[in-house]
């Protein structure tokens, strides 16, 4: 642009602009900051030590641990299937591709309780897969496997879509060049494709992790929140509120909120790095 105007990046603060900014900030503060702050205040009022103790007494730590395990499992599974799926959906052409593509987006449209219900209808007692599961001796619903399945379902699109997007932007030039230089499919994949999608994969995995941490409705229905067996951090909060263990509930909520904010900051950093290399 000729005559690059540094002025373009300094806002002239006319009264109506100040008003608009004030309105937006007030809206965000009302909906986001103040509630968040109140949570912290609430925990402080209960006394942080008392909160931690009550969380322990109510069995919160194993629940949190379970959430972490489920979340990591989701990240791993969705990482593998997400990357593979992205490659198949973007780079391959085959019958049923459009259909599979639509399936990937469906989890975003389904309410968590419906997800739980659907899984119960398939994997639960009287469900479609019951005979097979009985024969194998596998227990899915009201056990850990169901938690993982439900969380994987809910977080399915994230890695896949992020990596898809990167693959589309990158184009096949590098991979084609590798092929002309004699690289095999697996060499091309590991040495060309994977490094290129690294940032999209990291971003998608962080999204997955954050979302998995917060999943509630589906794991509640499909796991039953059985204390010591299928309760997660979120169902712990739910039962704690029900049983009037407010300090425990708010304490765990604050822990999850803090973790989410940490993820948010991480995501912002990753976003910047990702747009910088585009």
């Amino acid at each position: 642009m000729p005559d690059a105007r540094p002025d373009a990046f300094r806002t002239r603060w006319l009264p109506r602009r100040v008003a608009l900014l004030a309105l937006v900030v007030a809206w965000m503060a009302l909906l986001l900051l103040i509630p968040l702050g109140s949570l912290a205040v609430g925990v402080v009022q209960f006394g942080p030590l008392a909160v931690l103790r009550q969380i322990g007494e109510a069995g919160g730590w194993p629940a949190l641990g379970r959430t972490v395990v489920v979340a990591i499992a989701s990240v791993v599974l969705n990482g593998v299937f997400g990357v593979a799926g992205a490659i198949y959906l973007v780079r391959h052409r085959f019958w049923g591709r459009r259909l599979l593509d639509m399936l990937v987006d469906l989890p975003l449209a389904v309410s968590p309780v419906m997800t739980g219900l659907a899984f119960i209808l398939v994997f639960g007692r009287g469900g479609l897969a019951e005979p097979l599961l009985e024969a194998l001796g596998w227990k899915i619903t009201f056990a850990m496997p169901s938690l993982v399945l439900a969380t994987v379902f809910v977080t399915l699109p994230f890695v896949l879509r992020e990596v898809s997007h990167v693959l589309v932007e990158l184009g096949i030039d590098e991979e084609a060049a590798a092929a002309t230089l004699g690289a095999s499919a697996s060499q091309t994949f590991w040495r060309i494709t994977v490094p290129n999608i690294r940032h999209g994969l990291t971003y998608g995995s962080t999204l997955t992790l954050a979302r998995a941490l917060g999943e509630f409705g589906a794991v509640l229905v499909v796991g039953g929140a059985i204390k010591g067996r299928t309760d997660t951090a979120t169902t712990f909060i739910f039962t704690a509120v029900d049983e009037r263990h407010e300090p425990a509930a708010y304490g765990m909520a604050l822990i999850l909120a803090a973790l989410s904010m940490a993820f948010l900051v991480l995501l912002e950093r990753l976003k910047k790095r990702r747009t910088r290399e585009a």
């Binding site: 608009l20 900051l33 309780v113 879509r161 096949i172 499919a185 979302r211 904010m261």
Partner: protein, 288 residues
Amino acid sequence: MAGLVRAVRQAPGGISPAVLRPGPLGVVGRGLFASWLSVLVAIPLVVLAWHGLRGGPEGVVHALRLPYAWEALTLTIWTSAVTAVLNAIMGTATAWVLVRYRFPGRALLSMLVDLPLAIPTLVAGLMIVNLFGPQTPVGAWFKGLGLPIAFAVPGIVLALLFINLPFVVRSVEPVLLDLDPAEEEAAVTLGARTWTTLRRILLPPLAPAIAGGTLQGFARALAEFGSIVVVSGNIPGKTLTSPVFIYGEVEAGRADVAAAVSVVLLAIAIGLQPAVRWLNRLAGARHA
């Protein structure tokens, strides 16, 4: 979590040019992936739909006629719609402020927009109860005015406003970034006042993005469970929403009723998808 919103925007599966021929490993892998998706997504949803439609359309109607089912559905729909529209307005304003102004804390504000997507919804509900519950000074004051917030409809509205906050913002931002400020200057030199410029020059390109984001927010709000179950008090007929109703039916063992109502919600959500995709395409493909 911003990728959540962006992810849906990119839905049509890739605009990749030519294709490298996949080897046998690729074909096998593809089959595995397809099976994975089928077992995980297709089959459960099909089974859900089958259970819900087992009694045919009459079955669905019968389910909706059950006590409080219909009220739950209408409550869910109107609260989702109202909050989606409110956030359409505030979301556009927020996107405008983030793109067009420079001020300290702008990056922080941008990050905060994504907060509802990162935070567990249950925690969101808890925060609202903590702040506006009847035991708090603020909550008690509102209750005194006859407008209780927690355990009442306003609480639901507040929770949903939180939940669908990011959608229009993230949908509008990229379109705003792509706009040429010279077009607005041109309008000014031709004599247009601010309102005219807004209406004739800015709104047409932004409209598809705003509409798309609004629909996405609406669909998201329809499905909301975690925050509502904490905030609303789940009073049947008054503050019971469909997802919570479904949960109740599942817990009561009435899976078929739950499935029937699920089918209705699912139909609405899936029905909106093509519209959202079309609007996103329109919003993205604006330029010469």
